[in-house]
Amino acid sequence: MSTANSNLIAAIRGPVMMIAIGTLFALDQTMGVSIARTWPGLLIVLGLLILAERSYRP
């Protein structure tokens, strides 16, 4: 079960990162929050995904 969770999180890493990038660009377009100021959020999301994947690994 935990291996399945780990594999699931590893599998959704790409899509989730893509959604995060899209969200940042959307914020840039609509709210005027420049991507130049928000891009480190991507590093945080990636770190959290890796951490979640590892914590489920047996």
Binding site: W39, P40, G41, L46, G47, L48, L51, R54
Partner: protein, 214 residues
């Protein structure tokens, strides 16, 4: 899916030539793959053919000289060796060194950082060259094999990414300036020491438990 000749038997394989479904009785194994009766190659089943021929040399997958040249471009040498995470790390390290140097916030550490930058620019090509050579020998090269063992595995990568992200976010959101963060850079050394200590103690404990169990 049932066998084409025996409708009561389930198909176990398909002919390589015509795609006919075959049951375990009809399949003919030859040349390392499966054929039906019509398409089975002459010479009978299971001729020691292509499959048995050993590779005299592992296939050449990378050109070390090219890896060396590409290594001068930050990240590209690692990407040439199909080590994408390492390439990203190389780009980030290079970018940070250049950013700190050009921001004027290094407060007297410019010579050290400059030499570090030079050494790093020379490190990348050599690293790519040796990785390409090991790949040619058929070794699988772990992406972060050159890091000290205390930093490998564990959750270090994720924690470093998150900490880096928080720091950079604070800088880009103007909550704190690069100058103030650079003032506290020795905290990095302390954190590294704590991490090494933790790994050492944990390894020691595992070792002791192993001895007790024996």
């Amino acid at each position: 899916m049932m066998c084409a000749k025996h409708p009561e038997a389930p198909a176990a394989a398909f002919c390589r030539e015509c795609g006919m479904p075959l049951c375990a009785e009809c399949r003919i194994d030859a040349r390392g793959t499966v054929f039906c009766q019509e398409h089975a190659p002459a010479g009978g089943p299971d001729v020691a053919g292509l499959q048995a021929a050993p590779h005299p040399m592992p296939p050449r997958v990378a050109i070390p000289g090219l890896a060396f040249l590409l290594g001068f471009i930050p990240g590209i040498g690692a990407i040439y060796n199909a080590q994408y995470a390492k390439g990203l790390v190389h780009v980030l390290v290079f970018g940070f060194l250049v950013t700190i140097l050009s921001s004027g916030a290094a407060s007297g550490a410019e010579p050290l950082l400059g030499i570090l930058l030079g050494a790093f620019v020379l490190y990348m090509p050599f690293e790519a060259y040796h990785t390409a050579r090991r790949r040619n020998l058929g070794d699988t090269v772990p992406e972060f094999a050159s890091l000290p063992p205390a930093l490998q595995g564990s959750n270090t990568t994720a924690v470093v990414l998150i900490a880096l992200g928080v720091l950079l976010l604070m800088i880009t959101m103007d909550l704190v300036s690069l100058r103030i963060i650079l003032k506290y850079w020795p905290a990095l050394l302390i954190a590294l020491g704590v991490n090494m200590l933790y790994a050492r103690l944990r390894g020691e404990r595992a070792h002791q438990e192993e001895e007790i169990n024996q």
